[in-house]
Symmetry: C2
C-alpha cells in the first residue's frame, strides 16, 4: 500500500491540473467516482423561507396524514386533530370504561381536598378550587390529547398565580377585585395558549431546559411547603411574600404564637399521608391508598373538629355555597389597567402551565408509546382555560402527582377526567356543607405532602453528574425562587440557559485532526491518541456555524495553531507547514461576519505563504461563500468534498515539490 496518507486517494474534479504528479497506483485506478463540490444551484428565497418556516413551526409534519385522502376524510382528520375524543371514542370498550371509572373515582377522591387546598394557595375562595376541579377536566376529556393527564388545580400554578396576583391587588383588602383579576388572568392565559398553539409556536416551551425546571419546581416546592407552616403551626399574621427569608421571619421569632394543638394534628396526619404514599409506591396495586388518604384525613379531622367544637379555636374552611360554577364572564376585565396586568400574569402562568402539563404528558406518553403534540396540547389547554374562566374557574393544569395516580389507577382514556368531573359535580350540587368544619391544618398538611414530592433531588444530582453548567442553571433557578421571588427565579433560569447557549456558540469546539494509521479517517487528536498529524499539513475541524459571535475566535484559534505548528516544525527541524485544511462538514451556515473573518484569515494565511484548503462545506455555507465571492477568491480548486481528498492532493503537491528540489 505504500504511503499511509495516500491509501485511499479519491479523485476530484480539479485534479486535472495536477494529475501528472499523482502517483499511479492500483487503488487509484479502481476509483471511478468523483465528487463534485460545485456550489449548489441557488434556491429561491421564497422556497427557502417556506422550508425554514415549516421546519420551525411544523417539525412533526402534521399534514402528513392528510396526503392522498378524500376531502371528507380530510375534514374528519382535521376535526380529530382538534378533538382527540374522536380518536378514541369509536374504539371505546367496556373494559376501558371499567378502568376509567376506577381511575376517575380515585383521582376525584384526591381532587376534592387538593382543590380546596390549592385554591387557598392562590389566596382564592376554596369553592373556586372545586369549580376548577369540575369544568376543566370535563372539557379536557374532549379536547385533551393526553390519555394520562388528570386536569385540575395544581400546586405550582396556584402559588405562582397567587404571588403574581398579590403584586397587583391585596386579597385581604379587595377580595372581589382579586378574584376578578384571577379569572381575567386565567382568561388571558387560555387565550395565549390557544393562540400559540394555533400559530404552532409550541417550540418556545423548549427554551425552559429540564435543569431550569428542576431548580424552579424544587424551589417553589420548598417555598410552598414552608408557607404551610402557617396552617400547621396555626400562625396568624403571616407574611404575604413568598421568599424563604420573609417566610422564616414569620415563623421563627414567635414560637410562643405557635399553636401546639394544630402542630400535633399536622404531625400525625403527616406521618399518615407519607405512609400512604410509601405504601402505594411499594405496591402498585395499592395505588388507591395514596389517593384516598387525603380525603380520609379530611373526613376524620372534620368530624373531630365538629364533635369537639374545636372550630372555636382553629381556622376552618367555612361556608361553601352549594351549586355548580356561577357564570363569571362579566367579571373579566377586558380593558383598563387590570386587563394589561392580567395579560402579563396570563402570559407567565400560560408558559408554566404548558410546560408543566406537557412535561407530565410526555413523561407518561413515553412509557406507553404515545406522543404528545405540544401545539395540540396548547390548543386544548387554551380552550379549557378560556372557557372555564367564564365559569368561575382559575387556571387548570396537569399536575404530576394527580396524573401519576391516574396512570397507576389504570386510566385508559381522557374519560377518567370526565368521571372525576361528574363526581365533583355531585359534591358541588349536594355535599359542600360537609366541608364547613374542615380545619385549615389538614389542608396545609395535604399541600405539604403534595409539594415535598416535587423536590427533585435525584434530578438535581443527575444534572450535577452530567453537566456542571446545567447544574448552575438549576441552582440559579432554585436560589432565585427561594431567596428572591418566583418570577425572578424563572427569569434567572431563562437567562442562564440562554447565556449558556451563547457562550457555547461564542467559543465553539474546534478540533485539530490527525490521521488514524492505516485508514483514511481523520479524528480529533485530543480524543484519539493514535491519530497522528501529517507533516506540512494542518487539519482543523470547526464544529459550529461560523457567525458573528465566534468568527473572530475561530480565526484567532486557527492562526494560533498555525503559529504553534510552525514553531514546532522549526524546533524539530521538521517539514514546514504549507497547507491549512479546514473541515467545514458540520458548518451548516456562515453569516456575513463569518465570511469577513474567513476572508481575513485567508488573506493573513496567504500573506504568510500558507495555502488554505476547505473540505466538505455544507450546502448553505457553500452557497454563501459562493455569493460572497469567497470561492473565487480562494479558487475553486481548493475546495474538496472530504478531508482525505484534500490531504491526498496536498501531500501529492508536497511530494512533487520535494522531488523537484532533489532533482
Amino acid at each position: 500500500m505504500g504511503d499511509d496518507v495516500e491509501a485511499f486517494p479519491i479523485p476530484h474534479i480539479d485534479y486535472e491540473s495536477s494529475e501528472e504528479i499523482i502517483e499511479s497506483n492500483s487503488l487509484y485506478e479502481e476509483q471511478k467516482g468523483s465528487i463534485e463540490v460545485a456550489p449548489p444551484p441557488p434556491k429561491r428565497l421564497i422556497h427557502r423561507l417556506l422550508y425554514n418556516t415549516k421546519e420551525m413551526l411544523c417539525p412533526d409534519d402534521p399534514f402528513r396524514q392528510f396526503k392522498n385522502q378524500t376531502t371528507r376524510k380530510k375534514c374528519y382528520l382535521g376535526l380529530k386533530h382538534f378533538m382527540p375524543i374522536l380518536d378514541w371514542a369509536p374504539h371505546y370498550t367496556l373494559s376501558y370504561f371499567k378502568s376509567d371509572l376506577i381511575s376517575g373515582m380515585t383521582i376525584a377522591s384526591l381532587a376534592i381536598p387538593q382543590g380546596i387546598a390549592f385554591a387557598r394557595l392562590a389566596r382564592l375562595p376554596p369553592i373556586v378550587g372545586l369549580y376548577t376541579s369540575f369544568l376543566p377536566p370535563l372539557l379536557y376529556g374532549i379536547f385533551g390529547s393526553s390519555r394520562d393527564i388528570a386536569l385540575g388545580p395544581g400546586s405550582i400554578l396556584s402559588i405562582l398565580l397567587g404571588s403574581l396576583l398579590r403584586e397587583e391587588v391585596n386579597p385581604a383588602e379587595s377580595p372581589e377585585t382579586y378574584l376578578r383579576l384571577a379569572f381575567t388572568a386565567t382568561f388571558f392565559a387560555g387565550l395565549f395558549e390557544a393562540l400559540l398553539g394555533a400559530l404552532r409556536f409550541g417550540f418556545i416551551i423548549d427554551f425552559l431546559s429540564r435543569a431550569a425546571i428542576i431548580g424552579f419546581i424544587s424551589g417553589v416546592a420548598i417555598v410552598v411547603s414552608l408557607q404551610q407552616l402557617q396552617g400547621i403551626l396555626g400562625i396568624t399574621n403571616f407574611t404575604e411574600k413568598a421568599d424563604i427569608v420573609s417566610v422564616m421571619g414569620s415563623v421563627w421569632p414567635h414560637p410562643n404564637m405557635w399553636n401546639w394543638r394544630t402542630a400535633v394534628v399536622a404531625a400525625s396526619f403527616l406521618v399518615f399521608l407519607l405512609a400512604a404514599k410509601e405504601i402505594s409506591k411499594r405496591n402498585k396495586n395499592l395505588f388507591w391508598v395514596t389517593a384516598v388518604a387525603p380525603l380520609l384525613s379530611v373526613f376524620l379531622t372534620t368530624v373531630f373538629v365538629e364533635a369537639t367544637h374545636a372550630y372555636l379555636h382553629i381556622g376552618t374552611v367555612g361556608t361553601l355555597t352549594k351549586g355548580l360554577n356561577p357564570i363569571s364572564v362579566t367579571d373579566i376585565y377586558l380593558h383598563g389597567p387590570y386587563a394589561l396586568k392580567a395579560m402579563k400574569i396570563g402570559l407567565i402562568t400560560a408558559m408554566i402551565n404548558v410546560m408543566e402539563t406537557v412535561a407530565v404528558g410526555r413523561t407518561f406518553a413515553a412509557k406507553k408509546d404515545n406522543k404528545i403534540d405540544v401545539n395540540k396540547e396548547l390548543i386544548a389547554l387554551g380552550i379549557v382555560n378560556l372557557s372555564s374562566s367564564c365559569f368561575s374557574c382559575y387556571i387548570a393544569t396537569g399536575a404530576l402527582s394527580r396524573s401519576a395516580v391516574n396512570v397507576n389507577a389504570g386510566c385508559k382514556t381522557a374519560l377518567s377526567n370526565v368521571v372525576m368531573a361528574t363526581l365533583i359535580m355531585i359534591i358541588l350540587l349536594a355535599l359542600t356543607p360537609l366541608f364547613h368544619y374542615t380545619p385549615d391544618v389538614i389542608l396545609s398538611t395535604i399541600v405539604f405532602v403534595a409539594v415535598i414530592g416535587l423536590i427533585d433531588l435525584e434530578g438535581a444530582y443527575f444534572t450535577w453528574t452530567v453537566d456542571k453548567l446545567d447544574f448552575l442553571v438549576c441552582l440559579g433557578a432554585f436560589i432565585g425562587v427561594i431567596f428572591l421571588s418566583i418570577n425572578t427565579g424563572l427569569l434567572i433560569a431563562v437567562c442562564i440557559s440562554v447565556g449558556k447557549i451563547l457562550l457555547q456558540i461564542t467559543r465553539p469546539h474546534i478540533a485539530l485532526l490527525g490521521l488514524i494509521p492505516n485508514t483514511n479517517i481523520y479524528q480529533d487528536i485530543e480524543h484519539y491518541t493514535i491519530a497522528t498529524q501529517i507533516p506540512g499539513i494542518l487539519i482543523i475541524r470547526v464544529d459550529s456555524p461560523i457567525c458573528f459571535t465566534n468568527g473572530n475566535y475561530i480565526k484567532e484559534r486557527i492562526l494560533r495553531w498555525v503559529d504553534e505548528n510552525v514553531d514546532n516544525a522549526r524546533h524539530c527541524k521538521g517539514l514546514i507547514l504549507q497547507y491549512v485544511i479546514m473541515d467545514l462538514t458540520s458548518v451548516m451556515s456562515v453569516d456575513t461576519t463569518g465570511i469577513y473573518e474567513l476572508t481575513d484569515a485567508l488573506m493573513i494565511l496567504e500573506r504568510r505563504k500558507f495555502q488554505l484548503v476547505l473540505a466538505g462545506p455544507g450546502i448553505d455555507a457553500l452557497e454563501k461563500l459562493n455569493k460572497s465571492n469567497f470561492v473565487q477568491m480562494l479558487g475553486q480548486k481548493w475546495f474538496f468534498s472530504t478531508i482525505s481528498e484534500a490531504v491526498d492532493y496536498c501531500s501529492s503537491l508536497i511530494k512533487a515539490q520535494k522531488r523537484s528540489i532533489v532533482d
Copy 2:
C-alpha cells in the same frame, strides 16, 4: 471490489462477536488499525474549568511570548504589552518620522474643524472638541496598539453621547450639569473599558454583528446628516430628538423660516468638500486635499463672515477660551443619581467606542499584517478616556474617516497622533480667537460630508446578497435608529442577532446521509445527488450541540424520517428499516435535556424494533453519555468511531440475517 457498502470495512473493537459474518476480502486483511470508541478518562472539573476559562478569555494565548524567557525579559515584555510605544520606539528611524510628521499634520488640519463640529453634535462647547483632539491622541501615542488609528472626537460617538445625555439633562437649561455629566460619562466609559480589557472580556464586542453595525451606523449617519439641516438652513427652534420624524417635522413645515443665504453657502461648500473627497479617492497622492479642504472652508467662511459682518445675521462659534485643557476632575460625579446615570451612559458609549475603534483598527491592520488585540485596545482606550475625562475631554474614538486619511498620508506609528496633538496644542495656546466668527453653517456642512460617507450601501447590499436574515438585523438596527432612537436601534440589532442564533440552535441542520458510490464517504443526500441511501439503514447527521432548545426537535425529526423511510420501504416493497445510525461527529456537547431526549428516542426506537447506532460522538458528548448511563443503556457495541464502520457492521448483520432466512 464487490459490494459498495463494504468497500472499505474498517475493523472495530466490538467486531469479534460478528467476525465470522464479515466477508474476507483482500482489503480487509490489510487493515490492521482498530479505533476504540471508549469513553475518555474523566477530566477533573478544575482542569476543564481552567481550560474553558482560558479559551473564553485568552483565545490568542497572550502568555505564549513569555515562555522560556528570563524574568527581566518577562517584565519588559509585560510592560511592552501595555505600552506598545516600547514596541516601536527602539526601532524608530528618521524616515518613519518624516512620514509620521506629514500624516500628523494632515490629520491635524482635519481634526481642528471636526473637533469643533463634533463637540457641537454632542451639544458640548466647541472648545471641548479641541481639548479632546489634544490630550487623547497624545496618550494614545503611548498606549495605543494600532499604528493607523487617529484618535479624537468621532461623529457617531458624539451624537450617541449627546442623545443619551439629553435624556437626563437639558443642555439649554443647565449647561454646567450637562457638561459635568459628559465628563462623568467619559470617566465611566474609560473605567469600563479598562476593566473589561484587564479582565479580558473583549469578546463581548463580538456580540454586535457586522450587519448590525452597518445598519446602526448608516441609520445614525442619516439622522445626523438630517440634523445638520438646522445649521445648513439656519433654522432656529429645532427639535432635540434624534428620530427622522421629529427632525423632518422641524425642517419641512416651515420653509419660510429657512435662511437662503446659509443654504447657498452650505451648498457651494458641500460641492467643494465632496469634490475634494473625490479627488483624494481617485488619486492617492492627493490624500491631503480631503484633509485640508475642511480647514480651508472654515478659513474662507470665517474671513468672509468677519469681513461682511454677516455674524449679525447668522450663528457663529463664538468665543473660545485660550489655553490648554483645564482640570475637570472635580466636576466628575462619583456618587448621587448623576453618577448612576453616567454609568449607564458610559457603558453604552464604551461598547460603541470599542466596537468602532477596533473595527477601524482591524480594517487597516489586516492590510498591513498587523494584529489588533481587542483587550489591549480596551485597556488603551480605557486609560485614554479615564485620564482625559479629568482634563475636560469627552469620549475619544478612532473615527474611520480620520484614520483613513492618516493611513493614506503614510503614517508609520502612533507618533502621527502625537504630532497632531502638538499642532492642536499650538492652536489651543495661541490661535483659538481665529475661530470666533466661524459660521455654524460650515461646521454643519463639514459634519454632513463626514457622516454621509458612513452610509454603507455596499455593505448592506453585500449582506442582502449573502444572508437575508443578517440583512434583517441590519434593517432592524437601521429602522430602529431612524424612526425610534439611537439606543433603541442598538437594542433591536442586538436582540435580532441573539434571536437569530437561538433560532439556529433551536432548529439545527440535520442531514440525511447517503453513500457516494465507489467510496466509503457518506454525504448529505440533499447536497450530493449521487449519494444513495442504503436499504435497511438510515444515516442521520446532527450538526449542532444537542441541548434543551433543540433536543425535542432532533428527536421528532429523526422519528419523522424513520416514519417516511418505513412508508417508502412498504410502498416499494424494499428492505424494511432496521438500523438508525446517528452521526454525532460534530455534536460536541449534550446537555441534560439533550440526554433525556436521546434516551426518549432510544426507547421509542427500541419499542418499534429499530436499533439505534451512534457514530463518532465527540469527547465531551461521549463523556456525558457515559456519565448519564446512556452508553450502558444502548450497549457499547453500538458505538462506532465512523459512519462507515457502523454501516459495515450493520450491513453485515443484515446480510447474515438474509442468509439465515434463505437457509
